[in-house]
Amino acid sequence: MAHDHEVPELLDDIKTPALKPGSMGHLAPYPATEKHMKPLGFPEARVPDWEKRAVEKMGEMLKKYRSLQVYMDICVKCGACTDKCHYFLGTGDPNNMPVQRAELMRSVYRRYFTVGGRMFPGLVKARDFDEETLKQWFTYYHQCSQCRRCSVFCPYGIDTAEISMAAREIMDAIGVGHKYTAEIVNKVHDIGNNLGIPKPALSGTLQFLEDDMLENTGHEIKLPLDQEGAEVLLITPSADFFSEPHIQSLMGYAKVFHQAGISYTISSYASEAANFGMFIGSFEQKKKIAKRVAEQARALKVKRIVVGECGHAWRVAYSFWNTLNGPFDYLDPRYPVPQHICEFTHDLIQKGALTFDKEANDAYVVTMHDSCNVARASRMGSHPGGQFTIPRDLIRATCNHFVDMDEDTIHEKTLCCGGGGGLLTDELMDLRIKGAMPRVTALKRVMDEHKVNFLALICAICKAQFNKILPMYGIPMDTVGGVHQLVSNAIQLGTNKGIV
């Protein structure tokens, strides 16, 4: 496994590499087939007049998205973003510099939509949308995890993630799709979650976990499914039901609900917080996927919605749900809709409803990976930056030993795990390994300097990615875990139960 891929050597610090043009040009994802494209309303194969159709679609998108129109126009090519993308830092491929990734589209934009590009294509670097361009689009717009790190540093906030999403939507419109993401979007429509877990399997797992918790804690901690009239609807990434270490966090949430005495339910119909509609850039798909949640909130007559640990899912939930399927005026107005599980637990701690035995986590020296979508595309609590302080407050409340990584690699400057944006697929492993290098470099440093042995985070994709990648860098798999895994370890059950 690990030896199939070349793993970069870790240096003491993150270094800007020399340019290695074309070094990642070979690594495109598997294309989607008719089977995945058709049900999503995309052409089943590349349409005959695809060049023309793509340009038309771009024209439509420019009229629908101010971000695209403005970002196509105003980049001054200052280069401030060139060394900010983890994929560039890991690969040296100039097409992975955010500005150059965007240029793949901007050059086409100039050719068809600007005076300069129509008249002097050579002067302004304008190019036709042809076979070669499409190949580069398909390759490099699937080497962007839509992490938005570039947008933090750009003097105009140009967000290459927006451009990647638009590129993917344009490609879908001409029948050129990405298999992994298209497959998953289909699964969520057909079954209700990305993993394709049907209800019987889901309820079986939940039962098993309840038994497990009973055995380990002596408390009857519930993981209720489809329970009408519960106070809270818990929407969490389906990986939380089946993958390690995700499951540990799920048990953490369950213990928090149990201890607070707040009734809740999981939904089998909306058993997925993730929303891959975002990765393929489609507003319609985002909306359709998220609709399952709004429908279930009504059907199950809950008062609140709480979202589990997931990066892009939290972005969609926090930033987009209200626009997509709001207003949520049928829910309890005293609570924000939706609420992050970290906000939920944090509130309970503030109210004194939870007590912790920090020593339970004494084996760990913990550091925190800010998942990009939480860090740069959402908020927790009422103040800007709550997305950084609230999870750290939870860690400090449940652990004695916490240190942060280098300040240039956390908070809004956090480095992506390398597997976000719909790239968590095996054929892109080489990219995932190299893209993780900057993050792992910073992690390795605190491991060496402060004996850190636990990387806490709140994203299902990050967990899956690190689980696979860290061992390749010689870091044990069980270094990775959710914030609520720490909560789960330290929470004191039975004391002060149900204070709120």
Partner: protein, 237 residues
């Protein structure tokens, strides 16, 4: 002729500028996408934009050297432009005399910063890689304008009195014209042509960043999606 050309250039510039602003202002923002942490109030957003425009806040985070050069260039250009006011008015308030020295120093600093920006574009492989001929030409154009300005100030002085007369009268009298009596005057005409070219390309080039920043959704949106429902104009239900 001069009057006609001046108005023609200004019309293209203003019309192009307004057209672009209208285009940006009219294109819809379907979702809230501020880069967070972002202000949670409208006033906060104004402050954020102000910090970007006045201090280049994000660029400062990104690259200190580039920030220093870019900032120096923009500020000195502003100072130099202010100095130019005197060419357009018959009489100037006396304190403007004091300003001359600032304006002159700024002129040197501006050309210096531009030269270093140009060097950076050529020497740093990443920046060279992303540059098109147009990117280099725009810098050269600014250098040409700044350089010719300095030359006129210190080496080949044109007939300032005549120029000032032309500049103050051309708005109303179509007869206004520029006389060429020495190399300095040729230089001035060159200077003027380059400024005209600059004005003409602004609306159609990356120089629109000067107003695009105000329309950048990642910077100009309030982070309040839960508190206030944002409506997508093309998908209202």
């Amino acid at each position: 002729m001069l009057t006609f050309l001046t108005y023609a250039v200004l019309v293209v510039f203003v019309a192009g500028f307004v057209w672009k602003i209208a285009l940006y202002a009219r294109s819809p923002a379907p979702l809230l996408i501020p880069t967070t942490p972002a202000p949670v109030t409208y006033i906060g957003v104004k402050m954020r934009l102000m910090r970007e425009v006045v201090f280049f806040e994000s660029l400062f985070k990104a690259d200190k050297l580039l920030w220093a050069l870019g900032y120096a260039f923009h500020v000195t250009m502003l100072l130099v432009l202010i100095r130019h006011i005197r060419y357009f008015f018959e009489t100037m308030p006396p304190y403007f005399e004091e300003y001359q020295i600032i304006g002159k120093l700024a002129g040197f600093a501006m050309v210096g910063a531009l030269t270093l920006l140009m060097a950076r574009r050529i020497l740093i492989d990443r920046v060279r890689h992303i540059s098109s001929i147009a990117d280099h030409l725009i810098l050269l154009l600014f250098l040409g304008i700044g350089g010719s300005g300095l030359l006129m100030d210190y080496v080949l002085r044109p007939d300032i009195i005549a120029i000032k007369r032309a500049m103050t009268t051309l708005w109303t009298s179509p007869e206004a014209t520029l006389s060429v009596t020495g190399p300095g005057d040729v230089l001035f005409i060159l200077h003027l042509i380059m400024v005209a070219v600059l004005l003409l390309i602004i609306p159609f080039s990356k120089l629109m960043h000067m107003d695009g920043i105000f329309f950048s959704p990642s910077r100009n949106q309030v982070d309040n999606p839960r508190e206030k429902r944002h409506i997508n104009p093309w998908n209202r239900d």
